[in-house]
Symmetry: C2
Subunit: 142 residues, 2 copies
DNA sequence: TGTAAATGTTCTAGTAGCTAGAGGTTCAAG
DNA sequence: CTTGAACCTCTAGCTACTAGAACATTTACA
């Protein structure tokens, strides 16, 4: 039986985060000692590892909830899990595209920096002048 | 003189967002009509465009605050603006590297999906088994 | 001039995914 | 039996907005 701190160490998760997952129903309520402290078993280690791994892959908690659900019901179709993963991949590729554009523009800004005073600073100029900017108006996101 | 809605349209910013920027001191308090409605001028359009453009480039609001500060004081060194941009570029490249790794793993997951039931779903299996995962424990970030 | 629709106002609370701190309790080692 | 680390709950904070309630103003048209 593991304390919450040891579970955290095993899975690379902060204690607060584990309690948070419990609060939002992603982790089940664990058993408690007489004094009221949480104690965890192997199943909890597995589940939390799953969650953390999925988080590292960028899955939002809601997607992880679905995936855990699928995982708990081994008879259901694999297609659902597959489509969640595909959705995630799309998100990742979208973000990459955006970052690529940003990098280009940032590099241009930095490359053209004259090193004088801000009056003729290219960085500020580029930011001031929207016209050369190719990115569109709506979403920003990371 | 523009209403807040028209300023929003001009700059691709939601009305609420403009008020939020005012609240946190990124936009100055504008003049008001007798009835108390905000009215904006050209300087406001410029400033807000600057902010939005910087946001699209991924600058956090605090960095934008610094940049605006520099912009307001044209005598100060361009180096500061440059270093903010460089810092930002580093962030962008870091995020890109991480996304690249994620994409690889996601693709692998999806590629191996058997299409059967979840019991032998590769997506879930990969998530369940952390051992093949190369990503490290600490940061997740987008 | 009257009125209705569109747009404006403030205020509060919610989003994701945690993180940090206060103030107190329990556990394990020595 | 004491000490100190680790636990407990609860609340609030973070970024950058977004949404909604309840009400006021502005504008266009009849």
């Amino acid at each position: 039986m593991l304390t919450i701190g040891n579970l955290g160490k095993k899975t690379g998760t902060k204690v607060q985060t584990i309690r948070y997952y419990e609060q939002i129903g992603l982790m089940p309520e664990p058993g408690r000692t007489e004094g009221g402290q949480r104690r965890y078993g192997d199943a909890d280690v597995d589940r939390l590892s799953f969650i953390r791994h999925a988080r590292q892959l960028g899955f939002p908690l809601e997607a992880i909830r679905e995936l855990l659900d699928l995982s708990d019901n081994p008879d259901r179709s694999c297609h659902e899990a597959d489509s969640i993963a595909r959705r995630q991949l799309k998100q990742v590729e979208l973000r990459m595209d955006r970052l690529k554009a940003l990098r280009t523009e940032l590099k241009r800004m930095i490359h053209e920096c004259s090193g004088g005073n801000t009056a003729d600073c290219k960085v500020l100029e580029v930011l001031r002048d929207h016209s050369e900017c190719l990115t569109d108006h709506d979403e920003i996101g990371a």
